[in-house]
Symmetry: C2
Subunit: 307 residues, 2 copies
């Protein structure tokens, strides 16, 4: 019973107030699968790269228990490339360059050996491709988690709404929740989104934490107050990976378990932003993850008992 | 052993995207003392108003256990007046009018009967007056909590820094913490402010909750996700009142107790913003307060136990 992660595997070039990188490895599925690998030892990756993608990274995936049989390598083609620059407050960014390359013709083929999957993570990608993946699963997974972004609301709203209606958990950020619903109040926005299909909604608020909504229940996970946020790239994907990685490892999708998943996801995201790109998330020990989770416990734990 | 609250008692005129008010009663000490009165039954108020201030409100203070012997009423003069307009996101506002009136010559006389005070709340006011109050206490209170705002950083920084150095707990908002220290990172800002004198620092982040810092410990209290924020006026004062009201009622100033105080303060502030001005905070039942606090418990409670 494994976890299937689809999404981009890409090259990024990033500039933040703390510095800039050359082409480094990124992509939603990269961050999500590596983050999940700290909790779950059997992860199947479906994505596409070009001939320019380093084989050492594919080896690294395998070493981390991420099976790459579903990672298509297109001969003579180039890997998806994104370049962006973050503003001073790190909450907003400008896209400088996007080269779709192999992504423009991506046909997400799911290897037969990957069909046996209880947990499906749809990383940020064209909604039509996310939908295609759901339709190609012979048995519907026990839990489908979908991440998306504002870009698809602008150019593929119909596909996006159709895909959203098919998933169990949607993760988006606060600005996107407002854009999707036209409501400034996140409580009102959440109510509308939960009527679109998903039974669970996670609204990510970056440095202000994350909210988990389900029916009339709300859970809030803080972000860890950090000295500096060096690079927010991939934080949302890392969050989603930690969330579904944890859930798939315990195979418990109750609300209580999802709350824990949100904390694990937040802990993983707090590592991600401490260094550029994958650097920090790639090289953690289990002990570091455990200690970080305990920092979250300390951060919000208080003792009030009323009669 | 009582709680002494000083600060403004005022008239406000407020405009938010949800509507506008005529002159209504406001002021930092008003919000703080009323909020505190839900926890503490013996509160001493020191402030100043003009002849135009309604005597019914003074009666209301007394009914709520707030002693007004220290509330000076200046014959032939007018009460401090502030008028402001909030922007769409409710996180920023423009001051439309400020009429200092009685405040311009305020001499904070502390009645002899008020000297016996263990807990002192210095509501937002000229730092020189806050300092004068500290100096006029014959015995230093067990806990001095100070609130302030960016305005004093611009026109009275020296007095402000001197006053900050004399208190135990400083409460300011995130933008003010950044302005006071020049650090964007709240963790770095907090470290600097804790070196200015206060042993505890509370950074209020409005709809994003509040952080309590003490030595190398951090505690985070969320804000309750609300359908709508009608009017943020007084939320910070209401927070401070709930915080010190709770602490003075239990007479425990340990870090654990302060964490609970931050939750009680946050619960009170969450009521404040639900209606215009004092309306909501004025008319709560103990049961409503208790239920709101339990909502905070539910909001952040999760169960992770690691070996």
């Amino acid at each position: 019973m494994s976890l299937l992660v689809i999404g981009t595997v890409a090259f990024d070039a990033i500039e933040t107030p703390f510095g800039k990188t050359d082409k480094i490895i990124g992509g939603a599925a990269t961050y999500a699968s590596i983050s999940a690998s700290y909790f779950k030892k059997d992860i199947n990756l479906v994505s596409v790269v070009g001939e320019d993608f380093p084989s050492e990274m594919i080896k690294t995936f395998e070493e981390k228990g991420i099976h790459t049989d579903g990672l298509q390598i297109k001969k003579g083609e180039k890997t998806f490339f994104w370049s962006g620059k973050y503003h001073e407050d790190m909450n907003s960014r400008d896209t400088i360059d996007t080269q779709l390359n192999v992504l423009s013709t991506f046909d997400p083929i799911i290897p037969e050996a990957f069909q046996d999957c209880e947990f499906l993570m749809l990383g940020n990608l064209m909604p039509s491709i996310q939908m295609m993946v759901i339709n190609r699963m012979k048995t519907r997974p026990k839990l489908i988690v979908m991440d998306t972004m504002n870009f698809w609301m602008e150019i593929a709203m119909d596909d996006l709404l159709k895909t959203i209606s098919m998933v169990d958990v949607l993760t988006i950020n606060d600005a996107e929740a407002r854009q999707l619903t036209g409501d400034y109040s996140l409580v009102k926005a959440a109510r509308k989104i939960l009527k679109m299909g998903p039974k669970y909604l996670i609204i990510k608020k970056g440095e202000h934490g994350a909210l988990l909504f389900h029916e009339d229940q709300v859970f809030f996970a803080p972000a860890l107050p950090l000295e500096d946020v060096f690079d927010p790239t991939g934080a949302g994907d890392t969050f989603a990976g930690g969330f579904i990685g944890y859930l798939s490892s315990v195979r418990d999708i109750s609300f209580e378990s999802m709350k824990r998943g949100v904390i694990y996801g937040s802990a993983m995201a707090s590592f991600c932003v401490e260094k550029f790109g994958l650097e920090r998330v790639m090289n953690l020990t289990d002990k570091e993850v455990e200690e970080r989770v305990l920092e979250f416990v300390d951060l919000v734990q208080f003792d009030i008992t009323l009669e």
